[in-house]
């Protein structure tokens, strides 16, 4: 039974395979064939799987550029010597490294090399008949026998054939594919009737679907990745984001993305809402229920009011927009000594802590003169939504809501070093060519403002105003901003479809039992009795095979009895 067409074709070292590998003399083709057979063998697949599991581990220990770029920088500063070695081993990019790729590519080649011939074979098996009934059913592990009497005046061969008819009907009803293999009497041997039945083709179908779906997942990820982009943008209350490359704070396009042809739409942040647990709650102050209320516009359509929440991104023309972060964006105006406003903007402040102690940078490039000389001005701002004082005397924020908002400013003058055309981080100030005029180590105290207040800059350079947003019709005294993450992932729906297919295939491959059952009726030489044999053979894991044979026997005997309640007696 090693190779009937309905057997699943399996690698030669599959536990169910009965064949021994014959080693022919190998030529070049022979070696290639040998290599291919090695690659597509179960053992290789298994070793590659285990290698894949092991190779994935370093990526959870060493920080990865893709998931944790700051961790990589941190590692570099802490272990400058190791960094070079790790870098050469691609340990910061494990999942795109040569060695990791080699393992999964080999694994998938092995998988395809195994699945393709099996699919072809299975296609044939699906259209072939159940195999011939084995001559000696009693040699099978799951086997049962009973003897019935032939009713008076009936030919034993007819009775045997009829008994098998009943079995055939019963098996077909149970979803088996059935085939009769009756043998006419020959010489001394009586006529033997038998039915061969097979079920569970879905097991192999599921197996193939599972493996093919995994290839589908890989292709969707690979191809989808080239058409995918991810970008970040900051939008302040009242401000808008228009989807074009220059409006992104950063953007990561896939290989085939045309950044000049992004879908045109705009998102305006009307307001941002958040609730904080009351001060002094257990577990510290927690922020939640973040909601960015926005108006979205697409060409040729009216604006739509939508809300972006955590876990609930909005969909814009195939892009998904996520709410990733939020903060305060104090409105600050700087006037020069002549009273001319040389800077006025909502400045997004970044906050690393739960109570929103935040920091922001203001750069005034033009319009400030100091004793007739043009100066550039840099302000480092610290914003405390609920200002309080630590034991050390330093200011801190005690609560993330706007209970006692205070802004302090350090003032630097000199050269901002932005004239060289080098792109600069808006969240960092290069003070290497500047002099500190207020705050920190300078002799003047930091400027301190509350919403609506104006203070003088040192050296008579002008004034700074912390605008009160409520005075301008805002809900709160200080504006807020949100950081949005904008994604287009063409591959994701396909990945999901293939993953679900894989799961369905897996269910069939693991739980549909593939088995063969046979019923054979052999009349005794004297024509008075018939021996009924029932046997089953599991193809692959099938814990219920013994039960299946027992059920078959019981059902068959019941139908025999029902038909001839008086005559048939089971001995």
């Amino acid at each position: 039974m090693s190779n009937s067409p309905s057997d699943p074709l399996r690698p030669s070292d599959h536990a169910d395979g009965g064949r021994d590998v014959v080693q022919p003399r190998l030529g070049v083709v022979g070696w290639l064939r040998w290599g291919w057979r090695q690659l597509t063998s179960m053992r290789t697949a298994l070793v590659l799987l285990l290698l894949l599991a092991i190779a994935a581990i370093p990526g959870s220990i060493v920080p990865q550029r893709s998931a944790d770029p700051n961790g990589v920088l941190d590692f570099k500063s802490k272990n400058p010597d190791l960094f070079g070695v790790y870098e050469k081993l691609q340990l910061f990019d494990v999942y795109s490294s040569v060695w990791f790729s080699a393992i999964y590519i080999l694994l998938f080649i092995s998988l395809i090399g195994c699945v393709l011939p099996r699919a072809k074979h299975h296609w044939k098996a699906l259209r072939s008949r159940p195999p011939r009934t084995p001559v000696r059913l009693s040699r099978l592990d799951d086997h049962a026998e009973s003897v019935i009497a032939v009713p008076e005046g009936t030919d034993a061969a007819d009775a045997a054939s009829h008994a098998v008819d009943l079995a055939q009907a019963q098996l077909r009803k149970a979803g088996y594919r059935v085939e009769r293999y009756d043998q006419p009497a020959a010489g001394k041997r009586p006529a033997v009737a038998s039915v061969s039945a097979e079920r569970g083709y879905a097991r192999e179908t599921g197996n193939l679907v599972f493996h093919a779906a995994l290839v589908g997942v890989l292709l969707s990820v690979g191809i989808g990745g080239g058409l995918t982009y991810t970008g970040q943008a900051v939008v302040k209350e009242g401000g808008s984001f228009v989807n074009s490359q220059m409006n992104y704070a950063s953007i990561n396009p896939g290989r085939f993305v045309d950044l000049d042809a992004l879908p045109p739409y705009a998102v305006t942040l009307d307001s941002f809402a958040v609730t904080y647990t009351p001060s002094g709650s257990r577990g510290g102050t927690l922020a939640g229920d973040f909601a960015a209320h926005v108006t979205t516009r697409e060409p040729g359509q009216d604006g739509r009011d939508q809300t972006i929440r955590v876990n609930h991104p909005i969909d814009m023309d195939g892009d998904r927009i996520y709410l990733m972060g939020n903060g305060y964006a104090p409105t600050i105006t700087v006037r020069n000594s002549a009273g001319v406003a040389v800077f006025r903007d909502d400045v997004p402040f970044v906050s690393p802590d739960a109570n929103m102690t935040s920091q922001g940078i203001i750069k005034v490039a033009d319009g400030i003169t100091d004793a007739g000389r043009d100066e550039q001005l840099g302000l480092v701002g610290f914003f405390y939504p609920t200002a309080g004082t630590l034991d050390t005397g330093a200011k801190t924020s005690m609560y993330p809501g706007l209970v006692n908002p205070v802004l302090t400013l350090w003032v630097f003058s000199g050269d901002l070093r932005i004239d060289g055309g080098i792109p600069q981080n808006v969240y960092a100030l290069d003070t290497s060519e500047m002099t500190q005029l207020a705050g920190g180590t300078s002799s003047t105290a930091a400027l301190e403002l509350r919403p609506g207040e104006t203070v003088d800059l040192p050296n008579g350079l002008g004034t700074v105003t912390f605008e009160d947003n409520q005075a301008n019709g805002g809900v709160e005294s200080v504006k807020r901003y949100v950081s949005l993450s904008i994604h287009r992932d063409v591959g994701a729906p396909f990945v999901l479809v293939f993953a679900v297919l894989a799961l369905a295939g897996l269910l069939a491959a693991l739980f549909v039992p593939r088995r063969r059952l046979w019923v054979k009726a052999t009349p005794a030489a004297d024509g008075a009795t018939i021996t009924l044999e029932y046997a089953g053979l599991a193809r692959g894991e099938d814990p219920a095979i013994a039960v299946a044979v027992a059920d078959l026997k019981r059902g068959h005997e019941a139908s025999l009895e029902a038909e001839a309640p008086r005559e048939a007696s089971v001995r």
């Binding site: 536990a15 298994l46 959870s60 577990g283 927690l286 229920d289 955590v310």
Partner: protein, 352 residues
């Protein structure tokens, strides 16, 4: 809600400790059972006339040791698969199971009161996840007992749960706090629940694999003893704890372990997919090689390897059992070490 006095959460903690204490007692009862059951089995067999139950080599007593072992194993398998009413009446095992059920009732009560105290499903930080996860391990074990007599795993299951629950209550306890925004999702309920179920099933598969290894060793020794006996040499001492005499063959244990492992694997696959769907909503990508994602993937691949190994010549049996053991080791590692010490986006342990 900083109320003074006795809160629902305090009650929950009290119930947890009660459950732990009873699990510990169940563990002791099950351990006594393991120590005694081989004697009981031997006595039962002597008392009853040799029935057709022992089909192979019926005159076992005088036969070679492997034949005797095979007969024992066959009888043990029949007992494992017997209906609850037809099972051997091991007194201490019954005490163990009764205590487990009792502890489970307290455990469920603890879980529910915690959920009510928190106004949400009680599995959103490490403490709650451990509370619910261990509860599901026991639930799965008790349900499985209806179909298979796996009470010989009782020491393992109650021991594991008592230790996990105890360390959870000591080190992972976190007060009730509101849910983080990213956890406010129906996927929290699905993803975490299915992950816990998978863990429970894989735990049982693991325990069966360990027993399988012990039994395989015993069978090997018996074979060696027979060979030595045939050659007229002194037989090596028979090995392994004596309760092995009441357990099915290594082969039977293996296929049982496999059946639990594949159900666990299906659940794990679902956990992976559900997690990816959730991540796509919460973080804007369905997969990002976050440390927890990596370990979930590693575990998935290990069990995929286990299932392949079962179908690979030369890997069936002891080798594949080791894969199941390593796989469950990774599951435990993922739950404990990765949650506590690895940096990543699954930072919901509530520990700091």
């Amino acid at each position: 809600m900083p109320e003074a006095g006795f809160t629902l959460d305090n009650l929950s903690v009290l119930l947890v400790w009660t459950a732990i204490a009873i699990y510990a007692l169940a563990f002791i009862a099950y351990a006594v059972d393991l120590a005694r059951r081989s004697d009981l089995a031997a006595k039962a067999k002597d008392a009853a006339p040799v029935r057709e139950l022992v089909g192979v080599g019926a005159s076992g007593a005088s036969g070679s040791s492997i034949t005797r072992i095979r007969a024992e194993e066959e009888a043990a398998l029949a007992a494992v698969e017997a209906r609850p009413s037809a099972r051997p009446r091991y007194l201490w095992a019954r005490i163990g199971t009764s205590l487990t059920v009792l502890a489970f009732v307290f455990h469920v009560a603890a879980d529910i009161t915690r959920g009510i105290a928190a106004h949400r499903v009680p599995w959103s930080n490490m403490y709650e996840f451990a509370l619910t996860g261990t509860m599901l391990i026991i639930a799965v074990y008790l349900v499985v007992l209806l179909k298979f007599d796996l009470r010989f795993l009782g020491t393992f299951i109650t021991g594991l749960v008592a230790v996990l629950l105890g360390s959870t209550a000591i080190w992972f306890y976190t007060e009730v706090v509101p849910l983080q925004d990213s956890l406010k999702s129906v996927w929290l309920v699905i993803h975490v629940f299915v992950a816990s179920l998978a863990t429970a099933l894989l735990a049982i598969a693991f325990a069966l694999s360990v027993t399988q290894l012990l039994q395989a060793r015993r069978e090997r020794f018996a074979l060696a003893a027979d060979e030595a006996g045939a050659a007229g040499e002194r037989a090596p001492v028979s090995s392994g704890p004596r309760f092995l005499r009441t357990l099915p063959s290594a082969d039977a244990l293996e296929s049982l372990a496999y059946r639990f492992a594949i159900v666990g694997f299906i659940f794990w696959t679902f956990t992976l997919i559900a997690g990816a769907v959730w991540a796509n909503d919460a973080w804007g990508r369905y997969w990002g090689f976050d440390t927890k994602e990596v370990w979930t993937f590693v575990i998935w691949v290990l069990y995929a390897g286990y299932i392949h190994a079962r179908a690979t010549r030369g890997w069936r049996g002891t080798r594949s059992a080791w894969l199941s053991i390593v796989g469950f080791g990774a599951v435990m590692f993922n739950f404990t070490i990765v949650n506590m010490f690895f940096k990543g986006m699954h930072v919901y342990s509530g520990l700091s």
